[in-house]
């Protein structure tokens, strides 16, 4: 055996038990100190806001692997525990529908093509044009008549009763 290794082996014979002893002593001391301390009282004295103010949350979040976290979540089991009925009951569908921009929807989706194919051809197009032009002229003439008659308050725009009139195609 190498004389240097011999020295090392002899040293280890002394240092290993000493290290184990030191470990045991330290554990015992820490245990005694912890028992002696009232941790709740210490925690009560800690200014958590000051500590949190020193924490760089952004840096912390950057170190979090969100994908790994998500991978650990069983979405199906979460969804299975959700009762959709109360959620749906809380949704105001009418309000939701009024928020839809139908013009944009028709212009930007295939819905427009479906409507165009299902709503007649030249006849309905001509009818729409005639009707809308007539309404435009009606309003134009009406505005001029109101000016000529110097009416400050225009009359009612529609009959008072609710109209049970079926909309015409």
């Amino acid at each position: 055996m190498n004389p240097r290794d011999r020295v090392r082996s002899a040293g280890r014979r002394w240092t290993d038990p000493a290290e184990a002893l030191a470990q045991q002593v330290t554990e015992r001391v820490v245990d005694l100190v912890l028992r002696a301390l009232d941790l709740n009282e210490i925690v009560a004295h800690v200014d958590l806001n000051a500590i949190l103010a020193r924490v760089d949350i952004d840096a912390l979040l950057k170190r979090v692997d969100v994908n790994a976290l998500i991978d650990q979540i069983d979405v199906n089991s979460v969804l299975a525990r959700v009762d959709p009925k109360p959620l749906i009951d809380r949704v105001d569908v009418n309000d939701l529908v009024t928020r839809i921009d139908m013009d944009a929807l028709v212009e930007k989706t295939d819905l427009g093509a479906v409507i165009a194919r299902s709503s007649g051809g030249m006849a309905s197009e001509a009818l729409d044009a005639v009707r809308s032009q007539a309404v435009g002229l009606d309003q134009f003439i009406d505005r001029w008549v109101q000016r000529l008659l110097r009416r400050k308050h225009p009359g009612p725009v529609a009959p008072t009763a609710a109209l049970p009139v079926q909309a015409e195609p």
Binding site: E125, V130, A134, G155, P159, T160, P164, E168
Partner: protein
């Protein structure tokens, strides 16, 4: 191409104006006169087939005039009493309703047809109400307790217009750009 105005959608149920009503009346006059002429021609043809004699209708004949007037009463009265609209009104998307906006009773439809000629008296002054009356009601409307409103679904028309626009633009957008040789 149709040009359905976006603001037109708000007029459904509103009192109809003079142009829509006049245009509808012109169409009705053409339809009713055409149907009347066709009916006379059919009667003439039938009489000739059955008896072998030609029947010629004199337009200035009082009998023809009376039948024509009765036919006009029937055409307008029946249309208003049954559905609140004539063929011309259906084209323009307008409808006769009671003054309060409820569905017109058949009785009022008939009365409207009967008093309709009164609006022609005094150089058509009865029609002036359509222009100047706050609810656009003519003399015959005031007597019969009726009003005329827009009843067509301009919102659907607007969507149809947009849909057609989108469909017209779609193939143009899908075409590859034209490249010239050389």
């Amino acid at each position: 191409m149709s040009s359905t105005r976006p603001d037109v959608v708000t007029y459904q149920g509103h009192y109809a104006g003079s142009v829509s009503r006049f245009t509808a009346y012109v169409i009705d006059l053409a339809v009713s006169t055409g149907v009347f002429a066709l009916a006379l021609a059919a009667i003439s043809f039938g009489v000739r087939v059955v008896t072998g004699h030609d029947v010629k209708w004199n337009r200035s004949s009082i009998v023809v005039a009376v039948i024509f007037v009765l036919w006009q009463f029937f055409y307008f009265g029946y249309s208003w009493a049954v559905s609140g609209r004539t063929a011309g009104m259906a084209v323009l998307g307008i409808r006769v309703v009671a003054a309060d906006g409820s569905v017109l009773e058949p009785r009022r439809g008939v009365i409207r047809a009967l008093v309709f000629p009164l609006s022609f008296l005094l150089f058509g002054l009865g029609f002036l109400g359509i222009l100047v009356q706050r609810e656009h009601r003519a003399l015959h409307d005031l007597i019969a307790g009726s009003a005329v409103i827009y009843a067509w679904d301009a919102r659907a028309a607007r969507l149809r217009f947009l849909a057609r626009q989108a469909e017209l633009e779609a193939p143009a957008a899908q075409q590859p750009p034209l490249t010239l040789p050389g």
